[in-house]
Symmetry: C2
Subunit: 379 residues, 2 copies
């Protein structure tokens, strides 16, 4: 096991979570070849840092890649990678499963995470599945709706009063002290799990652009590493252009990128409807910034209005997503994409997760006796 | 195209929905062989009554079959067929996709359904995807939560005041008159779509028992027809024992079965937390009753308390389902299953769909400064 800090280059021979310089560490590149197999874990067996415990899998990954109607008007070939059909209905399950496989093998009895939404539900679910205790640390503002979805799996949920950014680092410190394995947003095993999204895309097409809603930066780093490993393994020829998409109301990575800053800075007063991507000081922000610059990739911000419109367009394709998941589609109009480009947008989580904030369902009332008129009238 | 009434035997050469005797019609048995393919639609290409329009698929079907921990204490080999990871997070999508493929080819401009939950969302989503208008007829009691999930896709939602049972038949009559194709719970194409659940199971194992939450009876009939066609095609040797599972508070099929009645009767005052399976006068009830008797299959009822306990057990396996989806597991204790039996329970829909009725999420509060104590205290 060899981990490396992508910023300062220091290496670690044991499963560290972060470098002494403060940045996240990551596994050295894996190389290999694909195999026949039903699951992405089996087909890309050479590429995981720990043996995926398939008998405990919940069927995460191997999600559909759907041809979208939205691309037509823009003259591009647009595909949607639907991560909302994972076992807890977000992409987080891929990373959680792999990190949990490590935690169990390493002998941990308790795992944890810091999250208010998708990741909290995912870690709770897999902890139950793996027979581990779970400490789920959520922020003060976590809604009752989210707490219900998280606590369904029986985890200990702790609402922490105080700075949410500090909580990330405090949880890692505490985890080391108490022997609890915290699987936070950019845990090194979690990042490796997200590579599967790149692998599955590459099995079906060679995308020119991949649009990735980004908050902590973990998902972006995972997909990037996946494509880089495929190229190093000579399984693909060229890397796609990866696009970090952030909400205007919380865009610390794009801000630093555009302003040519060496490091990200805390984004003051984050405010967007895309709650799942509102980390004001993303723990993998600098690592993403480096990737964007090294590979000449892109960072785009979108407004809440554009997000709502993108959600509506996705619903016309039959896909109901949470606001954060619509940001990739919202970004389409801001990118000057060459005609016929092959573009994939990642749909990160289900719209059912943010139903409370959805617009009211409008329904016309109609007595059964007048049904024909009611149906005709709206026809 | 040949359809037949399973009760009176009358045949139809055009796509009828119900027999003149009042019972549902169904397609004659298909026979064929399996092919290589990524999707269940392709692998079982010989078995569909209409060409599945794959370019409009949302990736429905091909759901995971998960080994459950719950079987251990009962000494059986228990598997969970997780239909909650379909595109609108319930099994309905399989049937909707196939019926929608027919509707589009037949030239319909508008489709409809009668439902308050999973099917309404599914038909709304696929209507948008297929570029068709949708008339979604819901009952008076449909909750705001459900309306939000349904209306997200842009369908016309009509809340009909009056007898919900009558609405099923009235919608079919009106559909014929107005040229609207109603894809209700036991539409013949919908039933065919559900066969995929049986096909996928048979690809992985030979179940001895399959537990099927049943309301209208459409899902049960589809899975039964799938296994029967596999046996007629000599792809499996023996049929599994299928088990109709109903809530005690609404069990018209089990009641008629146990009492030896020739036909089902309306179940008065249905009352159960399993809202998704509370049809008091199931339109496929008599057809299911005939299958149960012809094949010596089983019907089991479960109480609300048993359902809640089964939900909790499933959560320990990492699966959060709606109450109706837990009925199969609730039924386990009531069946005297031989040791080492291979049993599959169908998880029909996501727990996120009924979050409003879930127990409150409990969370301990903790100031960041005292985090160590809080985490230790609950350890």
């Amino acid at each position: 096991m060899k981990l490396r800090c992508p910023i300062c280059g220091r290496t670690y021979d044991e499963p560290a979570q972060r470098c002494s310089c403060g940045e996240p560490v990551e596994f050295d590149l894996f190389k290999g070849e694909p195999y026949l197999g039903k699951t992405v874990w089996e087909r890309f067996w050479d590429f995981w840092p720990v043996e995926p415990l398939l008998e405990l899998s919940l069927g995460e990954g191997d999600t559909p890649l759907i041809k979208s109607k939205i691309g037509r008007e823009l003259g591009i070939r647009l595909y949607l990678k639907n991560e909302t059909v994972n076992p807890t209905w977000s992409f987080k399950d891929r990373g959680t499963f792999l990190a949990m496989s490590y935690a169990l093998k390493a002998g941990y009895k308790t795992v944890g995470t810091v999250s208010t939404g998708n990741m909290a539900a995912s870690v709770s679910a897999y902890a139950s599945r793996f027979g581990l205790n779970a400490k789920i640390l959520v922020s003060e503002s976590a809604s009752e709706e989210k707490l219900k979805a998280i606590s369904a799996y029986g985890a200990d949920v702790i609402r922490v009063l105080g700075d949410y950014g500090r909580l990330y680092f405090e949880s890692l410190r505490l985890g080391e002290k108490l022997g609890i394995y915290f699987i936070n947003s950019d845990n090194p095993f979690r990042i490796e799990g997200y590579k599967g999204i790149a692998f599955e895309m590459a099995e079906e097409l060679s995308p020119d652009y991949v649009l990735i809603p980004s908050s902590s930066g973990g998902l972006f780093r995972g997909i990037a590493k996946g494509f880089i490993e495929l190229r190093e393994s000579r399984l693909i020829e060229e890397l796609p252009t990866l696009v970090t998409v952030q909400a205007e109301g919380c865009s610390p990575i794009c801000k630093a990128f555009e302003e040519g800053k060496p490091r990200i800075e805390r984004f003051e007063k984050p405010d967007t409807i895309a709650k799942a991507i509102t980390n004001p000081y993303p723990p993998s922000g600098n690592a993403v910034l480096k990737l964007l610059r090294d590979f000449n990739w892109l960072c785009v911000t979108v407004s809440d209005g554009e997000i709502v419109e993108a959600q509506r367009k996705l619903a016309e394709d039959g896909l109901f997503v949470q606001p954060a998941s619509a940001t990739g589609i919202a970004a389409l109009g801001k990118l000057n994409l060459p005609e016929s480009s092959k573009v994939v947008s990642i749909l990160t989580g289900s719209g059912l997760k943010t139903l409370r904030n959805s617009q009211s369902g409008s329904a016309a009332e109609c007595p059964l006796e007048k049904l024909e008129n009611c149906v005709r009238g709206q026809n």
